[in-house]
Amino acid sequence: MALLEIEHLTKEFDGVTALQDVTLEMREGEILGVIGPNGAGKTTLFNCITGMHTPDRGTIRFRGEPIQGRMPFEIARRGIARTFQIVRPFPTLSLTDNVLVAYGHRYYPRLGLSTTRSHHPASLGAAAALLNRVGLASAQERPAGTLPLGLKKRLEIARALALNPSLLLLDEPSGGLRHEESQQLLDLIRGLNQEGITIVLIEHNMPIVMGVCQRLVVLDHGVQIAEGDPAAIQRNPLVIEAYLGKSSSQSVE
């Protein structure tokens, strides 16, 4: 069942076409990988889905409802959460407060509710549980900016989870991580997927992609060039050519 349907998505920036007529879907319960060389438009795709950019053409439907062009907060409140390629936690806020910012989506819509205290047993307990889930329990009160990169990345995931998402978009979650951290990340992704969250990854790290993704979509220069299971994608000459160049694909045959 398609959770997110993207049709003919096109986005241009000052004459550069970042996304060209992209049509793809994200199926409920899957772990989908979006791969492609740098500049392929992968992050732009995430940005259009989450409302940071308004597409020039095309539609994005979440559970059948069009969401393209909506404000980011509206999309977040519908259950689509994301992490960022260059990690951006709220630096002077504690880890707990970082998570609570997203957890507060339950309260922000109503003015009366939003004036209630943010630190109360229920919310603090929920934040602690989320931090625990990603392995950050012990650092709860530190300013998020002081964390090392690997922990910042986990914090972003905890923060995204506080939105209670049905769709989680992870933008290069393994970027800058050491091997063992990447393995822990894989376990976390699998675990979240088993809890019922549909996960879409942008990744360059091929072992991660092959290790956890059930299906792949390949973008190159804003165009979708391939789609399928990881093994088939690995052998696809168009994909190889996109990454390595024309002559390489011929020599691989």
Binding site: T50, G51, M52, M71, P72, F73, A76, R77, A81, R82, F84, R88, P89, F90, P91, T92, L93, D97, L100, V101, A102, G104, H105, Y107, Y108, P109, L113, S114, T115, T116, R117, S118, H119, R159, A162, L163
Partner: protein
């Protein structure tokens, strides 16, 4: 007993404390630069003055209406402001200050260059309140402002403002309606400035457009920054210090501007977070001495 002169100084400082705290809500908590805060002080002052001198309002209802009107205008002006980029927001708020001042200066309804006079102090049961009692009124307003500030900081709104201040885009991605929260900060901050303006009008008993110009806005912003932007204690200290400075520096009055400039330069160089800001020497020392007091 306090001398009349001292009480006057304290009342002036007290009004600046309210102005600094209200600006701090917009600039310190929500992170939105505003170089036009005095405009809303002026809107409050003129609303109170006009209601009193021309519509027969007594002080108390005029005071409340001033806050509401200033808040409303703040909300209306905030909406177009907030769709511009940060650096343009500074210029836009500055522009608002000049436009509002010009409206007071050139439109006869507002008394033009002569301003509005004949504004009487508040009365209670038919008796005009004394200066010490006016000081009490100012202190009550300060305490009420502090109470509202503390309540909002601890609420989900305060958390939303903090997120917007730190990273507006990420805040939006986490479910915060950034525009609505910014407008809220502007509305509340402007309402506070309006209330301070009303007190100012009924204290001085006459007001002129020049009282609410860009220079006044910069002075209020300096107080917030000097004391420690984003904290509750900072703007209070900044208002006290910079509000008292003209009186304290009377012996060297010709060099006052130089003194201000040097102070601000030293501040920016050594304690850019403000004298009582999060990272300041004083606060870090305080925390080392009393680790139990590790809350703000």
């Amino acid at each position: 007993m306090l001398s009349g002169y001292l009480i006057t100084v304290l009342i002036t400082i007290g009004i600046y404390v309210v102005l600094a705290l209200s600006l701090n809500m917009i600039t310190g908590y929500a992170g939105q630069i505003s170089l036009g805060h005095a405009a809303f002080m002026g809107i409050g002052a003129y609303t109170s003055a006009l209601l009193f001198t021309r519509a027969g309002f007594s002080f108390w209802p005029a005071f409340l209406v001033s806050g509401v009107v200033a808040g409303l205008v703040g909300a209306i002006l905030a909406i177009p402001c907030l769709r511009v980029r940060e650096d343009f927001l500074a210029i836009t708020t500055m522009g608002i200050n000049f436009v509002v001042e010009a409206i007071f200066l050139y439109i006869p309804f507002f008394g033009a260059g002569m301003g509005i006079g004949g504004i009487l102090p508040p009365t209670v049961f038919g008796r005009e309140i004394s200066k010490p009692e006016f000081l009490l009124l100012v202190i009550v307003l300060i305490l009420a402002t502090i109470a509202v500030d503390r309540w909002l900081i601890r609420s989900w709104i305060g958390l939303g403002w903090a997120a917007i201040r730190e990273d507006e885009e990420a805040a939006g991605a986490m479910g915060i309606d950034v525009v609505r929260f910014k407008v809220l900060a502007f509305t509340l901050g402007s309402a506070g400035a309006g209330l301070a303006g009303s007190l100012y009008a009924h204290f001085l008993t006459f007001i002129m457009p020049v009282n609410f110009g860009f220079g006044q806005s910069i002075l209020i912003l300096s107080m917030v920054v000097f004391g420690g932007i984003g904290t509750l204690r900072g703007p209070i200290l900044g208002a006290i210090f910079l509000g008292a400075l003209p009186e304290v520096s009377r012996p060297v009055m010709e060099y006052r501007t130089l003194l201000y400039g040097v102070l601000l330069l030293l501040l920016m160089r050594y304690q850019p977070g403000g004298i009582l800001g999060e990272d300041s020497v004083l606060i870090r020392g305080w925390r080392r001495l009393w680790p139990a007091a590790m809350h703000s």
